[in-house]
Amino acid sequence: MWDGIIIGGGLAGLTAGIRAAERGKQILIISEGAGSLTYSSGALDFGDVGQLLSHEDHPYALLGETVVHAGMEWFQNLFPDYRGSWSEFQEILTPLGAPRKAGIVPRSHNTEPLKNAKVIILMAPYGLKDFFPEIIKTNLLKAYPQCEVEIFPFRTGTFESWHTIGKPVTGMDYTKYWQSQPGVSELKRLLDSLPQTSGETVILFPGLAAAFCEPLKEVLAGTPFPVIEMTSFPPSACGHNLYSALKQKFKSLGGELLTGTGVQSIESHNKVCSRAIVRSKGRPTAFSADSFILATGGIFGGGIEATADTAQETVLGLPLYVPAQWTNSEFLGEQPYARIGIEADRELRPVGPGGKEVLFKNLRVIGRMLAHWDPWTETCGGGVSLATGWFAGNQL
């Protein structure tokens, strides 16, 4: 018998799990897949919180400002490698080298040093996939007109045989290498070999992902110039490392993580959930708990499936908010389908149509499963998952 079972181990589920485990709860997370963090940039967007709080049904509005703020603070205390501020955005670079705002970012991604730089040296690892130095250079020159940008191509011995046969080297491959012992030494040599310029030079290094890796952080701390990183095209080492760090933290607090298998259904009685049913080795297995959290990731995570006629919640068949019209013609503009999700009360418990009746007393819904928000037009993907996850873990 668990204190809580969390279905879905993405950003929202893991956050809830860690928060509850910190509070001494016995938590089981059951997750079919790895969630969307490995695809994500690794930075957590909160969006314009003040403005979003005023949208009546938005998850932020359900939680209220204090909770969202608390979630943000908590995360930074949990992971000092990340940094954010309630009062201002952090600036980081997109994979094309354009500056953009974000809520909480890996420290090494913050572009602060570029503001006063005179020279940016853009490291260009040979054969790095989905990395376009010439375009990045143009975007940097546009954003930091006071700077010169030099592209610094280099190759490492490790991937020579890959280059010969034209095999792509992804950011994940490079990161793995830098985090190995020979990689750390080579990185040190490489940075030492850079021209020793004045204090106004900044190194921009793609495909590194230093957060959570002590030896790498040490190398970077020892350089005479700031070294900063940029986000990468999916799959991203930085997002993946955050996912690993969350898992590790959860386990270190005594949490149990069951991956590779999905919850098929939840048994309930009188509006109280009692057992999660999992199919393993062809046989259904039941896990009991006092409380449940549904964090199955919406359309991308698999918690919501759409057919030509309708959309369905896959575990309990909870009612969903579904807009009448799903799309608009501008792809990157508002797309109403993105707001499909479960409507909840201020405790994040699912409610029936009309919003009055609480459907299950001991079930909370978090992250991308919730209705009435769009991570892409509102740039709040990480923020909503983090804040709702923290709240659910805190209440459990």
């Binding site: 695809y39 094309l96 010439e134 034209g166 919406g298 759409a306 501008e330 990157l332 892409w376």
Partner: protein, 536 residues
Amino acid sequence: MKDYQVVIVGGGATGVGILRDLSMRGISALLLEQGDLAHGTSSRFHGLLHSGGRYAVKDPQSAAECIDENLILKKIAPHCISDTGGWFVQTKDDSPGYVEEWIKSCAGAHIPIREVSISEACRKEPLMDKNVLRVFEVPDATVDGFRIVWANARSARHYNGEFRTYHQAERLVTDKGQVTGVAVRNLLNGHQFTVHCDIVVNAAGAWASQLAGSIGIPLDVICDKGTLLAFNQRLFHRVVNRLRPSGDGDIFVPHETITILGTTSQFVDSPEDNDPQQEEVRSLLEIGEQLLPGIMKNRIIRAFSGIRPLHREDHDVPGVKEEGRNVSRSFALIDHELQDGIKGLISIVGGKFTTYRLMAEKVSDRVAEKLGNTTPCHTAEEDLLPEIPEHVYKKAARLLPYAPVEKMLERLQEDAEDVLKEIEQTPHKGQMLCECEMVSMAEVEKAASDEDTHHLADIRRKTRLGMGTCQGAFCTYRALPLLWQKKEKYDSLDEELRNFLNQRWKGIRPVLWGQQLRETELTRAIYSGILQFTEN
């Protein structure tokens, strides 16, 4: 002063077919196309090389033309055609009387048919409904419209024929009751100029009436919109038709790794009215279900619509407006000297993709006669493209993984050598930039730098980039640096990307469910979230 003997307006199958034919006869010709080649209906169709079976009962003349052209094209353009064969299938809802009539009509049109036993049919097409009553085999095949259009253009170029893409014929120029040229606008830079010639051929497809209308000549072309669905898999091995009078959604055409189901039929006001609608998708699926039970379980990657230009003689219109399929699909060659007393203008309207060569031959015969040229037509005998030399095959097989080789060579033809040389020198350019359709970086780079490529969408049509299951989620980004290298000729990267994504979106919107919706969420995450592109 004449610039060319002939100007052809329209770079679809019909127009390029005419360009090739005239050029082979030694007649100097320029073709103008407002978009990329095959920008109109010739890339928005079913891709069925008709055996004629579909028209046998209703329109024996069309049927006979189809089977003749079917055999000719299989001979001269084997690399653009996949000889899958086709079936006509009678279900319990289809009238037995019609079947008997059909068998007789096929014999009359010399379309060879063979009855296939139900057990053989179920074995060969396991997904087909098991309750079908009778199955007949015909020589249907599938055709890659885009490729055949380009093959014609290349062959024409070989004979000194010229074509300009993104050049719009704004209006015809006349002098004393005779058409003497075309006023043209280069859509890429806005330049306007006039081209003078003896004869203008109006092969503007669904737009033909607009061109004729520019000098007040009435030309009645009905725009009949047809919507098609592209499935993610090869559901059938061969073309599968319903054996009944032609109706919506009753033909499945397999192409490479996908299957196209269609089509609907609905009159629209303009050739640009080609947004597929949700209701059309539904009706296609309902009818498709009868031959392919459980059709909804298969992933649809997109819907798209094309416009059939149907010619209608003004006097026999009553009632046809409701049903496009009753208007003849055989073509009309209109010599406006005879019809309207205007010399120097010929329009070609209607027809089918399958009969484009025949239509071109008829037009070219008429043009040649007027110009006093007596060289006969050779387009039915000469191969559309030279064979790919053995050493090129071998080199490709050495440099690239097995699967993409064949397709790449078919797409690139004589340009293959350049691309292979590039891969040999810089091996990483052999990486697949588009992983769904297996298009190498070197090939996309080549397409991006071609002088007749002006937008990301042109690269897509040339290489199939972004046409696979991811519908551009990954490869759009990967094409950006190649556009950037040639930035003088492209719009800004933001704009190219936005336009490209919006074009793809148009086809996804009506089929937005299941895996496709999930893919959409990923694509928005990448372009809005990670790359922070915003709407215009």
